[in-house]
């Protein structure tokens, strides 16, 4: 490992922390190609194995970069309990990696089907009602107690709506933060995708209002991503397969104005580009952050 790579942990930068989602295709690059990143984010469940190459790799990366653990499968809004094995695995990983952030989603992911609890392998939308609020509050309290730290909860891109919501998404998220002390991970592309799929005419105004409706002090991370275009009448899919769209960069500037220098992550999960292209996206985010929030903000 070259000295130049020891940027994230040993030479923390001023201003907004910028990171990238680290996926398998870039495992070699992150350790061999110096990149001006403040942190990297991995999907927790991909490193649940007790040993082996993946675990050893992550521990090596953690020596040089702060690591954010982003979970995708806790299913905090599920009617069935978090599987017994999950929290010990996550706790052990967190103890090993000492992550800078830990997050998951406002979603459900499992339910009973044909007599078994089945895992959807996806992030499914929850109804924004009191019953789900109590359920999620209890689950978040449990997770935060086990981990001994604050959890960040991410807003979803949802492709259908379950009936029965009693409050808006932002009211639900705000209540979660107030009841549990958890933070929010605001995914701007998810907001963009939802607005597009709902046929919102003025997407920028819709997202701005959404961002203004959540408590600024609760926001602990921003996610930026791009997604593939779709034909008219089709739903846009948050596939994380493209560069961040111009509209989302605009929203990012607004989000920084509202929330200040919160850690920001570029997510790219499919049709992965070269490492240099990915890190260039991170540099673009840094440039915008520096323009919006000059040092000393």
């Amino acid at each position: 490992m070259s000295e130049a790579l020891k940027v994230g942990k040993e030479k923390p930068r001023k201003g907004t922390a910028i990171g990238v989602g680290l996926r398998h295709a870039h495992f070699r690059d992150v350790l061999t190609a110096p990149a001006p990143l403040d942190f990297v984010e991995v999907h927790s469940e991909n490193f649940f194995g007790k040993g082996g190459a993946a675990r050893a790799f992550l521990l090596e990366v953690a020596q040089y970069y702060p690591v954010s653990l982003h979970s995708t499968a806790m299913g905090l809004g599920s009617e069935s309990a978090i599987p017994d094995s999950y929290m010990p695995e996550l706790k052990r990983l967190a103890e090993d990696v000492e992550p800078c952030l830990i997050s998951d989603h406002v979603a459900f992911s499992r339910a009973e089907w044909l007599g078994h609890i089945v895992h959807s392998g996806d992030l499914l939308p929850v109804v924004f009602d009191r019953e789900n609020l109590f359920r999620m509050v209890a689950n978040i309290d449990h997770v935060q107690k086990v981990l001994g730290r604050r959890l960040l909860l991410e807003n979803l891109s949802a492709y259908l709506t379950l009936p029965g919501s009693e409050m808006s998404e932002t009211e639900f998220l705000t209540a979660l933060t107030q009841e549990t002390g958890c933070g929010l991970l605001v995914d701007l592309n998810n907001l963009y995708v939802n607005a597009k799929n709902q046929g919102v005419e003025n997407v920028e105004r819709y997202v701005r209002r959404w961002l203004e409706s959540i408590p600024a002090e609760a926001v602990g991370e921003l996610h930026l991503a791009g997604c593939s275009p779709v034909a008219a009448g089709e739903l846009m899919i948050d596939d994380h397969a493209r560069p961040v769209a111009d509209e989302v960069w605009w929203l990012y500037a607004f989000a920084l104005e509202r929330f200040g220098p919160v850690p920001t992550l570029i997510e790219w999960d499919n049709d992965l580009p070269d490492w240099q292209v990915l890190t260039a996206e991170a540099e673009k985010a840094r440039k915008i952050a520096e323009e919006v929030l000059p040092y000393g903000h």
């Binding site: 469940e45 991909n46 649940f48 194995g49 007790k50 040993g51 082996g52 190459a53 993946a54 675990r55 050893a56 499968a73 806790m74 299913g75 599920s78 009617e79 599987p83 094995s85 999950y86 695995e89 459900f108 992911s109 499992r110 339910a111 009973e112 089907w113 078994h116 609890i117 089945v118 895992h119 959807s120 392998g121 996806d122 499914l124 109804v127 949802a158 492709y159 259908l160 709506t161 379950l162 009936p163 029965g164 089709e234 739903l235 899919i237």
Partner: protein, 253 residues
């Protein structure tokens, strides 16, 4: 009475739509599920995917979702029953060894995630200071054996080591596949890298004796009149992380 969450899960996994969900949204979740399943299984079963090709593999993944849907949050632990399912698919009748290949892939995957094993090298000195009837070789948990009526190790190596995929090897595999001799594949891990080699029947018996906790002298007695050579085996076994320690035997046992 199903809840809304149960109805949505059922709608995604089956062809029903009891919740009258937006078909466009439902289609996305269904496609995501199949894509995630294919991706997860291709990580765990790379040999199988190479053997049967993308189209049949996708079909098998869809069948797997119906028969054995994932029950754990971690896709990495899904697939234990994939080998059995492959053996039952009529579309794969021309691949009689695919089920066994899946078992070997799964063993490799399982071992790749297992806790790291360490060898107590100091304890190996007991082999020089103690007699064979007073010591026991402890085996690590960093190896697995899969047996088959097909040349599994050869097939696996042919697919994972491109340098090995020679005409001669292919001819040898075909010839062996036509025979019915059982072949064992030894899966082991060295420096986090999972590797496979053929394991002769004598060596399998030897490892079984050691796993039973047999004293070294007794195990060696059992191996008389075979081709097994302990002096040759030991350094290789230590190198492959198969031996974890040498301990003194419980002489009262």
């Amino acid at each position: 009475m199903d809840t809304e969450q149960q109805r949505l899960i059922r709608s995604i996994f089956s062809h029903d739509n009891p919740g009258n969900f937006d078909p466009r949204g439902l289609a996305i979740y269904r496609r995501n599920l199949v894509a995630s399943a294919c991706r997860a299984l291709s990580v765990t079963f790379p040999t199988v995917e190479q053997l049967i090709g993308e189209s049949l593999f996708r079909h098998a993944a869809q069948q797997m979702l119906s028969e054995f849907p994932p029950t754990a949050p971690d896709w990495g632990v899904w697939g234990e029953h994939f080998g059995r399912l492959l053996g039952q698919l009529p579309e794969l009748e021309s691949y009689p060894y695919v089920s066994d290949c899946a078992q070997l892939d799964y063993a490799c995957h399982k071992l790749s995630r297992a806790a790291d094993c360490e060898t107590d090298f100091d304890s190996l000195q007991l082999l020089g200071t103690e007699t064979a009837d007073s010591v026991v070789l402890k085996l690590s948990e960093c190896f697995l054996i899969v047996t088959s009526d097909y040349p599994l190790a050869d097939i696996w190596l042919a697919h994972h080591d491109s340098d090995q995929l020679t005409e001669e090897r292919i001819r040898r595999i075909r010839k062996k596949t036509g025979n019915t001799a059982t072949q064992g594949a030894l899966v082991y891990r060295k420096n986090h890298r999972v590797q496979v080699r053929e394991i002769p029947a004598d060596e399998q018996r030897w490892l079984a004796f050691l796993q039973q906790g047999m004293r070294l002298s007794d195990a060696l007695d059992e191996m008389q009149n075979t081709d097994f050579n302990f002096e040759n085996w030991l350094p290789e076994a230590v190198f492959m992380n198969i031996v974890s320690a040498v301990t003194t035997a419980d002489l009262t046992a």
